[in-house]
Subunit: 247 residues, 2 copies
């Protein structure tokens, strides 16, 4: 972990199973509640069920080893924007930023694919093998005050992911070399799912461009400036969400 | 420096003065040329003059202590987008990301202001006092393959910065609380300078909102999700650049 840990928790997230049992005092959320938020018995806090409603948690009891929490949930959230992001597997530190910040912006699915010009060995990083990647989704949602996490896959081929895409979706691939159209000028009709594909740092191979075109992807660009993968993901997702009317 | 150093240098930048003298072998650019790019005598590389043209550099001689470089410059670049970003002074690690990534996207000026709900002590960080901040601008430009750095000020008050703004500019302030309009739906007419103001992490005070409104700022938002300052800067700058037709 290169980056200085910085946890901006505006909402504390739980799975349904976790809300049914006392929370160990060693759980980072328990530490956050007692040591950062300084909650005492009877105090409330903003809570959310992962992929479910937001609501209020109450600290009902503080034991030596556990916190007992009770919850009152609100209405279920609307579904996330029907946006799927396909990204050539980036170096792990970049993947952490992409996982966290795209979850904060909100999207339905995130596929990190192996690509010809990328480093497929990145899929063996502990980020992926240890399950650490899930924590970055939760951190992004907790920062953004939302409960919804994208579906994530990693280490599969571009062809495999393309084969499963929803028919009829708007399909856009960022490409710095062969794309005549700026992403900002491309129409993404509201109500239609959008799939956006970004290559690895070295971009798409000729074969991958052919695969994308065969799968009805339009090649688009984000201007002449060469952006980091994480910045390109944020910029592209922002433009698509603006087009869909959700930003 | 929390973040693992990661230098993506697509263009090596120099000041005019630096191009007139041999480059010490200890300079990071010399190390990059000889050790990363493996350039030998006679080899060329992509070079740029800060705030000037891009062109080709040639390694003319490799001495024990210095590299002798010669340059052939192209046409001067167009001016940067007339966008001024005002940001409530963030924690130093966030400021590094904002300096680097907004420079990569391209803008004219960047003012980090003290604000009522912000930590004015952040202005005493070595990021600012040591001049380190300039390095992040150069890194952003070198990544983006551009030469232009924004003008930067830091530690001044919002009122001081507002008083110097160009008359007739489009003025937008991000606000999560009192903004009825999404930034993505606000018109930024092409050819008119844009000023975008973002508060500190805790947002604007009532007094600052009044100052902004008195200075003809329209309050706008980026949707319901709470974004990190660096992500909000990238998203907002992306939307404005798209409106101006430069992305």
């Amino acid at each position: 972990m290169g980056r200085r840990p910085r946890l901006d928790v505006n909402l504390i997230l739980f799975t349904a199973a976790e809300t049914a049992a006392p929370l160990p005092r060693t759980d980072p959320r328990a530490v956050h509640l007692t040591d950062v938020l300084r909650r005492k018995v009877g105090d409330t806090f903003d809570a959310g069920l992962i992929n479910g409603p937001r609501g209020k948690g109450t600290v009902s009891a503080i034991g030596a080893d556990t916190l007992t929490l009770t919850f009152a949930w609100g209405a279920p959230p609307p579904p996330p924007d029907a946006i799927t992001l396909i990204v050539g597997l980036p170096r792990p530190q970049t993947a952490r930023d992409v996982l966290r910040e795209t979850t904060a912006l909100g999207l339905a699915a995130l596929h990190f694919v192996t690509s010809e010009k990328g480093e497929s060995s990145y899929a063996q990083s502990t980020l992926w093998t240890s399950g650490e990647w899930q924590r970055h989704l939760v951190n992004g949602a907790q920062q953004a005050f939302v409960t919804q996490l994208p579906q994530v896959t990693f280490g599969r081929s571009l062809a495999t992911v393309l084969a499963e895409l929803t028919p009829g979706s708007t399909r856009l691939a960022l490409d710095n070399y062969e794309s005549p159209a700026p992403l900002s000028q491309v129409a993404a009709p509201r109500g239609t799912p959008v799939v956006l594909a970004l290559g690895s740092e070295r971009g798409w191979s000729a074969g991958e461009r052919a695969q994308l075109r065969a799968a009805q992807f339009q090649l688009v660009h984000l201007g002449a400036n060469v952006l980091r993968t994480e910045t390109a993901c944020i910029a592209a997702l922002t433009l698509i969400k603006a087009q869909l009317g959700s930003l």
